[in-house]
Structures are given as structure tokens and as C-alpha cells.
Amino acid sequence: MTKIVKKAYAGTIESSDVYVELEPKDVGLDIQIESVVLNQFGDAIREVVIEVLEQFGVQDAKVKIVDRGALDCVIRARVEAAIKRGEGK
């Protein structure tokens, strides 16, 4: 299990990128998503974010996503970078 111990972010709000912000949280995941394509892809973005968090064993975190039309591989990269910055190793 990976614990988020400090506020961390990765990515930008430029076109085709996504800004990911992670904060420590006591229990569970709280994921907020803002996206230019929220109606069409909001669920898909959430799924990808959860998948990466699970992959790295993050069970408790507050997650803010500001998507600017990022591809799947970009979302995965930014969430991973934020986790590695927030886990406090």
C-alpha cells in the first residue's frame, strides 16, 4: 500500500495535458474531475485514474483532475508522477 503523505501535483492545464493534484486523506478516494469533455469521457477518465491509483496501491487520497483533452497515456503518466511526488519517499 502506498500512502500519500504530502500534497503533490503533476501536469499542466495546457491543451492535451491534464493537471493532477493529490492530497492525503484518512479513508478512501475522493476524486473530482473537471474536463472539457466531461459528459463524453468523464467516466473513462475516472476509470483510468482509479486504475493507476490501484496499480500503485493508493487507497486513500483526495484527487483533483483538471483535464484538457489528454490521451489515456498522458493521464496515466501524470497520475503516476503525482503519486511518486506525494508518496514522500
Binding site: 495546457e14 491543451s15 492535451s16 490521451l71 497515456c73 503518466a77 503516476e80 508522477a81 511526488r85
Partner: protein, 294 residues
């Protein structure tokens, strides 16, 4: 075949995702100068995911890693080597020893990830005065070396002179590196022409590089890619002449003649070799155009 190589900043998704459609024969995903120190970690992950999950069908992928004098180069290789990009570009390569250090670490990673020995190839960026002087040793020290690459910007800083548009200050380095690469039997690529708004200057600079023997040239702007591709492609006149040479050779062989002339000029071995290279390149271009528009 690589005529053009286009640098793309490694932490900028909107540029990387279009990399395959910019017309370059290779894209160089840059983890070095185009990425600030605070973003090296994020860029490394982004570039790794881009190579892993995006299809670069129309171009090769080269990754420029950080230099040995930084804390980043091992982490760069840790992420990138398992994906076996077409080439890895070590930076500020100044000696054969620099290559050996990187070669050894890649060998460790190849073993760890069950990648065949010497699968990962290198195109060292030579951008110091010492690197220029050691170019032949750099090119021959490892089986991984696929080509040499001249970096004019850092080189001029090391030479303590100003980088100019006509490039007199890097002329010696250009000639020296071409000679070293050709002597070692590897390809050689020229530094970018950095005035992105000069659409005529790029032609002149690329033509000069070609005249010296460079295999191709890099660019920092997609605007320069078409010019580089055009200059480093054989012209129709070159191709027609190459076929004429090969036909003359065929006929002479049939007739049992040793000495051959074409349009009043003797055809000797270097002319035949050049004709064969031109035809091979023209045929490769033809097959590439089957897959994309230029």
C-alpha cells in the same frame, strides 16, 4: 532511413502526440535541455508512456537522455531501455569512456529485462571540443553506436565563440565529425538550423551539410522538416543517372568489357557505389511514400 530528425520537448503532450504526423523520419523525445530540472521525473514517465502506448508508425523514436554529469541519466535509462526505442541519444559525449559508462549500464538493464545483448543502439551527441577531437574513438568504442550527432549550440559555448547563422565557427567540427563517422562506418547527423522563421536559410544550411557528407539533419521546428527531407533525398536527375550507370555496367559485363564510359565520363567503382546508394535510397523512399504523404 533517416534524413530528418525533429526534437520534441519530452514534457509537452500536445507536441508529442502529433510527433508521428510531422513528416520527420525520426522524432527525438527530449529529456534534457527542453525539460526543467523540476519536471525531469514527470517527463521521463510521459515519454515512457508515449513510447509504450502510442503508435509511432511513420517515424523512428529516439530519446535524448541527460548527461553523465547529472543525477538523471540512470533514471532516464531505467525507464526508457525496457521499451527498446530505435535509438538513445546520450548527451555531451566527450570521450570513449563516456560511452563505455553508458554501455555498461545499458548492458545491466538488458540482462535485467531479458533484452538481447546490444539491442539498444546509441547516437551520441557530440557537443564539446573534446568530443569533436575524440569523435572516431567515440564512434568505434561500442557495438551500440549507430551514428554520431553534432550539437552546435553547446559546442560553440565550449569553444567560447558565438553561434552564427553561417556556421563558420562549427565548420571544423562538422568536417571532423563526418570524417570520423565515415571512417568508423556509421551515419552522421548535423546540428539543427535554429532560426525557425528562416525558410530559405534552412535549405542553404541543409545543402551545405549534405555537401560535407552528413546523412541527415536535425530540426527544432516542424517547419524545417520538409526542407531537410527534400535536400537529403536524391533528385529525379540523380536517380535517373544512377539507373543509367547500372545499366551501362550491365551491358559492359555482357559484352565482356572492363572499362566503361557514360556520357564521355569513365565509370569507376566510387561512381557505381554512389549509384547503388542512390537507387537504394530512392527505392526506400518509394516504399515509405506508400505509407504516408510527404
Amino acid at each position: 532511413m533517416r534524413r530528418s530528425m525533429l526534437f520534441l520537448p519530452g514534457n509537452t503532450p500536445n507536441i508529442i502526440i502529433n510527433g508521428d504526423s510531422l513528416g520527420a523520419d525520426a522524432v527525438i523525445l527530449d529529456l534534457e535541455d527542453a525539460v526543467s530540472p523540476s519536471e525531469k521525473d514527470a517527463a521521463r514517465i510521459l515519454v515512457r508512456n508515449a513510447i509504450k502506448l502510442m503508435k509511432f508508425e511513420n517515424c523512428e523514436v529516439i530519446v535524448r537522455i541527460n548527461s553523465l554529469d547529472t543525477d538523471y541519466w540512470k533514471s532516464d535509462l531505467d525507464e526508457i531501455v525496457p521499451l527498446k526505442p530505435d535509438l538513445i541519444m546520450p548527451t555531451k559525449t566527450s570521450s570513449a569512456a563516456d560511452v563505455q559508462i553508458i554501455d555498461s549500464y545499458i548492458t545491466e538493464l538488458e540482462r535485467k529485462f531479458s533484452i538481447g545483448p546490444n539491442t539498444v543502439k546509441l547516437i551520441p551527441l557530440i557537443e564539446t571540443a573534446l568530443g569533436v577531437e575524440n569523435a572516431f574513438r567515440i564512434a568505434t568504442v561500442s557495438k551500440r553506436i549507430s551514428a554520431l550527432f553534432l550539437g552546435g549550440e553547446d559546442l560553440t559555448a565550449d569553444l567560447r565563440c558565438k553561434r552564427t547563422k553561417d556556421g563558420n565557427e562549427i565548420d571544423y567540427a562538422r568536417k571532423r565529425i563526418v570524417c570520423a563517422a565515415r571512417a568508423a562506418g556509421v551515419d552522421v547527423y548535423d546540428t539543427p538550423f535554429t532560426d525557425v522563421n528562416d525558410d530559405e536559410g534552412i535549405y542553404a544550411d541543409a545543402e551545405y551539410a549534405k555537401s560535407l557528407g552528413f546523412t541527415g539533419k536535425s530540426a527544432v521546428s516542424p517547419r524545417h522538416v520538409a526542407a531537410i527531407n527534400e535536400v537529403f533525398s536524391p533528385s529525379q536527375k540523380d536517380v535517373d543517372y544512377a539507373y543509367e550507370v547500372m545499366e551501362a555496367i550491365r551491358i559492359a559485363k555482357e559484352q565482356g568489357r572492363g572499362a566503361i564510359a557514360l556520357h564521355g565520363k569513365m565509370i569507376d567503382a566510387p561512381i557505381v557505389a554512389r549509384a547503388q546508394q542512390t537507387i537504394a535510397m530512392a527505392e526506400e523512399l518509394l516504399s515509405m511514400r506508400g505509407g504516408r504523404h510527404e
